[in-house]
Amino acid sequence: MSLDPMRLTDLAGAIDREFDVFICSASYEERCKSVPNAIADHRRIGKRLVCYNHKSSSIVTGNAKYLLGRLGANVNGVPLDKVTPLITADNLQRALSHAGGDDHDLSYLVDITTFTHEALLILLRLLQARVKRSPVVLAYAPAAEYSVGLAPEQKWLSKGIADIRSVLGYPGDSRPSRKSHLIVLVGFEGDRAERLIDEYQPHVISLGFGQAGTSTAPQHHQVNRLAFGQLATKVSKYSEFEFSCVDSAAVEVAIATQVSKFPECNVVVAPMNTKLSTVGVAGAAFRNDQIQLCYASASQYNVEGYSRPGDTCVLTTLTPEYWKAPGLSRTGNVAKPDDPAAPGT
């Protein structure tokens, strides 16, 4: 499986193996249906989990209902909560346990297209505690257009920051005596990134910009470049770096390199670009416990015109190496299933 886009109509054929669990997320975007529609009739997929934010608009609920119906009998809904990440984590964990993930080395196909960055990061942390040798394949359906119909300089996906929080499962290892280093993977939303920088007031700022030729579509690169340019004029001193928008392994290297440039700093990373780059950020945090991930939840999303679905899809396989957390035992510091016998504090 490769990072080259394939047509959605070819997706079912390209999936050449069985998957025990398929996980996707309903959203207000029409493209939340793209991958599920393409693989719904695939007979070699076992359980299906449809995540959805339970306090979202009726569009999300409607799309969740559609997906639950479309994916057949062996399907369960997983309510997530965009305000309380603990609810998201607990419900995802229950669903994975129910699917048998706690006791068996299952294979997973995850459609990451329309998860929030935070929910995706939590899911990856939960999978890290469960995946052994079986593969995890990620599917991503790029949009044909974001912020539909607007000129590049007017495009917006979300506005405002409702809350800034550390991502559950990625608390970092902040040392109070050290300086702070904020790494932002800039996406379309320069305003939100600016607000984040203003809130943190870090000693060192690294602004990451998606490499030309790695965007999920060339037109997205132009919008990203614009947002980056606007942000760069408002930040007085920063270290610039590039990262791939589609290759999670390359993102991980880019983050690790940037972290190593300021070795005596506490590191906070804000993934605000593509979901595929967010997967790479999670990988960097798996390998380096000192990295804290943060999430700036948006106050308002462009629900009406967030995206127009495309007709392609990218598949990427996360190898066993991706899940490795050097220095930590699998039953130690990584997220592990509840142990009901554990005594209380």
Binding site: L126, R165, V167, P171, S177, Q292, S299, A342, G344
Partner: protein, 608 residues
């Protein structure tokens, strides 16, 4: 400083070297005398109002330089800067502990070791302790192997985990302490990491350090070391709004302890402090437990003092830049406009004997000339925009008591002037550039910022409040403009005071306005002269948006709760009624103020 460098750029004070801080800092402690004095203090103010700079200046390296002293122990206090960044202590994992007994204990331990690490980092980075004889190093080593070691043991730290420093070099021992507390912090985070996805409890086996049983005795002993000042240790907790609610309650419990003769807590907030309740739900009160300062309120009522502070700050920045000009020369007025206003003043003085309204001729000149000029520009040609908001004094008034609101537009003005200077040094900012940028800032504040606030508060209850606040600000700005261009005796109005009691809904909207920086709150003598009433002052940053005169002292009007409600719900109708002379009442003793106005004048006649 290179001429290419912007003299008005805003830096994080934490990163500024002591020499530069001392060079740039203008002593404002005359206005905020509680900050450098012993005692717990809350310092409230919006971002950019100078809180962090005040804290930075109190740190020992700056104090040594500014007092021209070489010995740390001669300082009156030892201040430790403790910035609270957004997700340093407010980790999402801590929510797992909510409503559990461990919640308070573990949060307190986390807060304690976080601060303890900063204390020793301060000794390493800011104290500059000279120890040629090695006496200080030995004193610290004795302390660490004695009382400190016992404290650690009492906190539950196994002896095997605390290998004591093997040498008596001061810097090595300080570093040992930093690493110890960093490790303890790390221990909490690692515990939380394991807790991330557990719905059931998880044993915590690490040490537990609290304020009364660890931090306070540790700091007391530290104070007694020969190189330390005799005075108290100040913990300067910057941006305490970033603590979670449990940590906030814990900090309040520390305030409640009244230990300020040994350790004084100086807590800054951005007007969003979560609660004043302690961990045991008791309320801390001012002045019993702490003193409280709101920077905006102080400067909203002390314009003259603020103006002097800004002038000194700008003078120092220009000097460092090598500009060789005064602030007034660097930000010149629009000469043609000021000349026209001076002519109007002369006319008022000439006709005062027959038509004057004030006690003195120059009162009328001061009170009416500029409003007359602005009025003369409005009318059929919609020419009010020709009025130029330029000149150092106007810019100071327009910054509305927050230095950042002077420096940020000034920085933009400088950047623009530099880009068109053809590589020559910038010696002044053209009044047209000043006016354009200051108008742009006002529009951004009234339109862009409001849009952002509305976008960030989309829940119906909050969204409704923001809509009401927007209405209120439009209503007040519109009404004050109507008054400015009227023939009333007092035309320069920026404030309202209640002639009756404001109800909860109205107060909620006004408080939101204060929190977002559109209003300042103060108090003033009530209409009956029997006590005081609430007063709300419109931010002068909005003057260009509503075509108001930001200069000088401004009057206020009494309003009823019902009138403010109308402004909140029907702003256009409110403005129309103001135009007809309804709704607003003059204060009982309307007099003009000048720079030497007495305190009584301020109370009964006008806000400054």
């Amino acid at each position: 400083m290179s001429l290419q460098e912007n003299p008005f750029s805003v830096q994080t004070p934490e990163d500024i070297k002591a020499t530069e801080v001392v060079d740039l800092f203008v002593d404002v402690f005359g206005d905020f005398y509680n900050i450098p004095n012993q005692g717990h203090t809350f310092l409230h103010g919006p971002r950019g109002s100078g809180k962090s700079m005040m804290f930075r200046y109190l740190e020992p390296d700056c104090q040594l330089l500014s007092h021209q002293q070489h010995k740390l122990h001669e300082l009156p206090f030892y201040a430790v800067y403790v910035p609270i960044k957004n997700t340093d202590l407010k980790l999402t994992e801590l929510e797992r502990l909510e409503n559990k007994h461990a919640n308070v204990v573990l949060n307190e331990h986390f807060l304690t070791v976080f601060i303890a690490s900063r204390v020793f980092a301060s000794l390493r980075d800011r104290a500059g302790i000279d120890d040629p004889s090695g006496d200080h190093g030995r004193a610290l080593a004795t302390y660490l192997t004695g009382p400190f070691s016992k404290l650690l043991a009492k906190a539950g730290m196994p002896k095997t985990q605390q290998p004591l420093p093997s040498e008596s070099l001061l810097s090595a021992n300080v570093q040992w302490c930093i690493e110890l507390f960093d490790e303890l912090c790390s221990g909490v985070i690692n515990y939380l990491r394991r807790l991330s996805f557990r719905r059931t409890a998880l044993n915590y086996n690490g040490p537990l350090c609290g304020y009364l049983d660890f931090l306070l005795p540790m700091l007391k002993e530290l104070r007694a070391l020969p190189f330390m000042p005799n005075g108290p240790i100040y913990l300067l907790l910057d941006d305490a709004d970033n603590l979670n609610e449990t940590q906030t309650r814990i900090l309040n419990s520390w305030v409640f302890c009244r230990t300020s003769s040994d350790v004084s807590l100086k807590i800054s907030t951005q007007l969003n402090y979560k609660t004043y309740r302690t961990a045991t739900n008791q309320r801390i009160d001012s002045p019993h437990d702490y003193t409280e300062i709101d920077i905006s309120t102080v400067y909203a009522s002390k314009t003259s003092s603020y103006s002097g502070r800004v002038e000194e700050i700008v003078r120092r920045r220009l000097n460092r830049h090598g500009a060789g000009v005064t602030p007034k020369e660097f930000f010149p007025e629009y000469a043609k406009q000021e000349e026209a206003i001076r002519q109007l003043e002369a006319e008022h003085i000439a006709k005062w004997a027959e038509e004057g309204r004030g006690h003195r001729a120059r009162d009328d000149a001061y009170r009416y000339a500029r409003p007359d000029y602005i009025t003369s520009l409005s009318g059929a040609k919609k020419g009010s925009s020709k009025y130029r908001y330029a000149g150092f004094e106007q810019l100071v008034y327009l910054s509305s008591g927050v230095i950042r609101y002077f420096l940020e537009p000034a920085s933009r003005m400088y950047a623009e002037a530099l880009s068109t200077s053809g590589g020559k040094p910038v010696t002044h900012i053209d009044s047209l550039v000043q006016d354009r940028i200051i108008r742009d800032e006002a529009e951004r504040f009234m339109v862009g910022e409001f849009d952002k606030l509305s976008e960030e508060n989309t829940e119906p209850r909050h969204a409704g409040r923001f809509l009401q606040l927007r209405n209120l600000i439009h209503a007040l700005g519109g009404a004050f403009h109507q008054i400015l261009i009227s023939d009333k005796s007092e035309r320069r109005v920026f404030s309202i005071a209640f002639s009756d009691t404001a109800d909860r809904d109205v107060l909620d909207v006004l408080k939101l306005g204060v929190q977002c920086g559109y209003l300042h709150e103060a108090s003033i003598g009530n209409k009956e002269g029997t006590g005081r009433t609430r007063m709300f002052v419109l931010s002068r940053r909005l003057a260009p948006f509503f075509m108001l005169d930001p200069t000088g002292f401004a009057g206020y009007k009494f309003v009823t709760n019902a009138a403010v409600k109308e402004a909140i719900l029907r702003p256009k109708a409110f403005i129309a009624r103001i135009s007809r002379g309804e709704l607003l009442e003059d204060p009982p003793q309307l007099r003009l103020f000048d720079g030497s106005a007495s305190g009584d004048d301020v109370d009964y006649n006008e806000e400054r």
